[in-house]
């Protein structure tokens, strides 16, 4: 079920009312209900893929239980390895199998050996990258004895399948979310209201910003050879806002929905385009995934400790894996590689933690230096986004080549593509003013009439633009 669908619009109020009025008496009934509606939510897309979700939950629940009983170091390692193989194996088969086979065949082809391709005709199950990581994170935490294994099978299965986060995160840790499944939730008015605001802001970002940008991005990337360079630059800017609006919008809706049900979720985006360097950008972009890779991959590899060679190696590994996580295509690996290249100088100079606070803290406007830093960082991310959006590395390189042509400084003919500008201005202004908050509508301290007018205005925008619905980009990951 998509968040931006009529089905969800009907599903959420019914789930909310049943949750708080029928199933609120006991913790067990609350959890059973969450599990039931989560499976319904997922099965709405294709019920057959529920088996993968149940398999992944069962593997990691069992691994956790065995780890809790086994004190032998070797035995614990074997359990963890088995859990990793089964969970990541699932991901490899459904997400990466065809990629590996294709590349294997291509490498032989370059040697003049022609193999008959045998790929699997399978659809990528939505959300598989998210729920496998969530479940695996639990097993690793139990292995490291940071977390006690749960004996509550319903709570664990609900944690893995928790519907707001199921399709595109945030990848919440068991230490945060699972513990909430072990205590009865109660409704709080202030949290409920703020959750609704966050959902509203998420829909605005998805439907008004991302979907509008998507229309032009598809046009521009589809015929970039024939367009002037200035339009191509516009295309990359729009894509930057499309992917931000799409993914952070989804996260806002997911977090807001979780809060409506009494859960608090990890913040996934913190105004990343106001970052002053790439290191700061990565602390603000897809926070739950970055933290996952940091804790379960980067730090075990040695992190920023060790020789220069080790530090560089670790940085490349984490960025390349992060890129590959996004999709079975060399373009994502290239995107990760470019980000690693951006990141390494900061790391080697010890300046990767230079900007940890929010930009222009306590001030209304940024300084000239901050503005310059933000612009440079944004431009660097734009270059990397070209690889993320392109169909192939060749297309990305060709696109960039076309950007740096004579028509770069030409003024594009207005073909309606600038109509998105006012919408982007609204987004940027609101996010700037609210940059210290969790979301764009948090803590609106104003009179009832202007406040409700803002809500109605946003809803009107959303409905107006809802006609050209697009799927969430991150579902494919």
């Amino acid at each position: 079920m998509l968040f931006n669908s009529i089905a969800f619009l009907i599903f959420l109020p019914i789930a909310f009312l049943l949750y708080w009025f029928v199933f609120q008496k006991h913790l067990k009934s609350q959890n059973c209900f969450v599990l039931g509606i989560s499976y319904l939510f997922y099965g709405w897309w294709d019920w057959r893929y529920l088996s993968l979700l149940i398999f992944c939950s069962a593997v990691n629940y069992t691994a956790g239980a065995w780890l809790g009983r086994n004190v032998n170091k070797k035995g614990r390692k074997s359990i963890l390895a088995l859990s990793c193989i089964l969970t990541l194996g699932l991901l490899c088969i459904f997400k990466y199998f065809n990629f590996f086979v294709d590349n294997f065949i291509n490498s032989f082809r370059s040697l003049g050996i022609y193999l008959q391709p045998r790929t699997l005709n399978i659809i990528l199950p939505v959300g598989i990258s998210f729920y496998t990581f969530k479940a695996l994170g639990y097993t690793i935490d139990v292995y490291r004895r940071k977390l006690k294994p749960t004996k509550d099978v319903i709570a664990f299965f609900s944690f893995v399948a928790f519907f707001p986060q199921l399709l595109a995160g945030p990848i919440d840790r068991a230490s945060n979310l699972l513990s909430q499944f072990q205590a009865k939730r109660t409704f709080e008015y202030a949290k409920g209201v703020d959750a609704m605001r966050q959902i509203l802001w998420g829909f605005f970002k998805k439907i008004v910003i991302a979907d509008n940008c998507a229309k032009y991005v598809n046009q521009i990337f589809g015929s970039y050879e024939t367009l002037p360079a200035s339009i191509l630059v516009l295309g990359t800017v729009y894509f930057a806002f499309q992917i931000y609006g799409d993914f952070s919008g989804y996260s806002d809706i997911a977090i807001g929905t979780s809060r409506l049900l009494g859960f608090s979720s990890t913040q996934n985006f913190r105004v990343p385009y106001f970052s002053r360097d790439i290191a700061e950008f990565w602390r603000r972009w897809h926070i739950s995934l970055t933290a996952w890779f940091r804790d379960y991959l980067y730090i075990p590899l040695g992190g920023s400790r060790g020789t220069r060679y080790q530090v560089i190696r670790n940085t490349f590994v984490i960025f390349l894996v992060c890129g590959f996580w996004h999709g079975a295509n060399w373009t994502f690996i290239a995107w990760g590689f470019i980000n690693a290249l951006y990141f390494i100088p900061l790391l080697l100079l010890g300046r990767n933690r230079q900007n940890t606070g929010i930009v222009a803290e306590g001030r209304r406007l940024p300084s000239m230096k901050e503005l310059f830093q933000m612009t440079v960082t944004f431009v660097l991310t734009l270059l990397a986004w070209v690889f993320f959006r392109a169909e192939s590395i060749d297309q990305a390189l060709s696109y960039i080549e076309h950007v740096f042509s004579r028509s770069l400084l030409s003024i594009p003919k207005d073909s309606g593509m600038t109509t998105v500008f006012p919408l982007l201005v609204i987004l940027i202004v609101v996010e700037w003013l609210q940059r210290e908050k969790q979301h764009g509508l948090e803590d609106l301290r104003m009179h009832f009439i202007p406040r409700w007018s803002i809500y109605y205005g946003l809803v009107a925008f959303i409905l107006y633009f809802a006609a050209s619905k697009q799927q969430f980009i991150y579902f494919q990951f």
Binding site: V193, Y455, Y456
Partner: protein
């Protein structure tokens, strides 16, 4: 919780009331028909209900026919009701029925459609926007066959198509038909409504001519592999007599990126007009305009 629910309900109620202001205004003035996607369909419907004393030759057709014979301009001596293939043969039948019911005299009806238009079984992405919204009305229900009604009921939220908010906007649900859509030529609905159009031709005594729009060369193999036996099976031989042999194949460079719509429709409009008129005893056919890779 009580406060939260009360405020939520209040918010929704106020919103519900406010959100109806614009649609109701647009509905009352029929202005939405000029702004929504598929406005050419509304225009054809409006035109089909008018009295017309100038021409007795009516043209129905798809969007390529619409490109050459816009329903908003004069195509004398042809009266164009061409709009879009997404209305299906059901929509074309309704338009013709309206036109005849308005008391107009008809000598000939041209059905200018691409071979692919006949596979429309009201199961397409655009069915909601182009067929349901304009045609799912009480006045047309008696004209729908059981097959059409069953097909409509398969479209998600079909009942919302008459709701002011939906009708006056471009919103349509995602619809991927689960039916078998690879009809070899004629869809079941097309068969039913071709027969009904034929019945009208007998009842009102006019000549029915089914004729093809120009097609791209790259579509030729697909068209040639179509099951032409369906024409005989459904007793439509006389209407489709020269349909396939009359197809004008043009090089792909004459079409826009979708491979279906003409880049320069005006170039072919006059030629097609003469050709249609010739089929009903009009002026002799002009030579086809110089087009890249023109083939017959």
């Amino acid at each position: 919780m009580k406060k939260f629910l009360l405020k939520s309900v209040l918010f929704v109620l106020i919103f519900f009331a406010l959100s109806h202001v614009r649609p109701l205004y647009l509905l009352s003035k029929d202005r939405y028909k000029r702004t929504v996607a598929g406005k050419e369909v509304y225009y054809s419907i409006q035109k089909s209900k008018q009295r017309n004393a100038l021409s007795s030759r009516v043209l129905l057709g798809d969007s390529v026919a619409y490109q050459m014979f816009k329903n908003t301009t004069s195509n004398n001596p042809i009266y164009s009701l061409a709009c879009n293939q997404a209305v299906g043969l059901t929509g074309q039948f309704v338009l013709l029925n309206n036109y005849l019911k308005a008391g107009n005299h008809v000598d000939a009806v041209y059905l200018l459609l691409s071979p692919f238009s006949f596979s429309n079984n009201l199961n397409q992405v655009y069915t909601y926007q182009y067929f349901l919204k304009p045609f799912y009305r009480d006045e047309y229900f008696p004209l729908f066959t059981k097959t059409v009604v069953q097909q409509i009921h398969k479209i998600p939220y079909y009942y919302l198509s008459r709701y002011p908010q939906v009708l006056t906007s471009n919103w349509a649900p995602d619809f991927v038909s689960r039916d078998q859509t690879n009809y070899t030529f004629l869809s079941p609905i097309s068969v039913e409504y071709l027969a009904r159009i034929k019945e009208l031709s007998i009842k009102y005594d006019f000549k029915l001519i089914v004729t093809p729009t120009p097609m791209s060369l790259s579509n030729r193999p697909k068209i040639e592999s179509m099951n032409k036996n369906e024409v005989a099976i459904n007793h439509l031989e006389s209407e489709f007599k020269n349909y396939f042999s009359d197809i004008l194949y043009l090089d792909d460079s004459n079409f826009v990126s979708d491979g279906a719509h003409l880049k320069n429709p005006q170039k072919y409009a006059e030629y097609y007009k003469e050709r249609l008129l010739k089929q009903t005893g009009g002026a002799p056919v002009l030579p086809a305009p110089n087009a890249t890779g023109l083939q017959r």
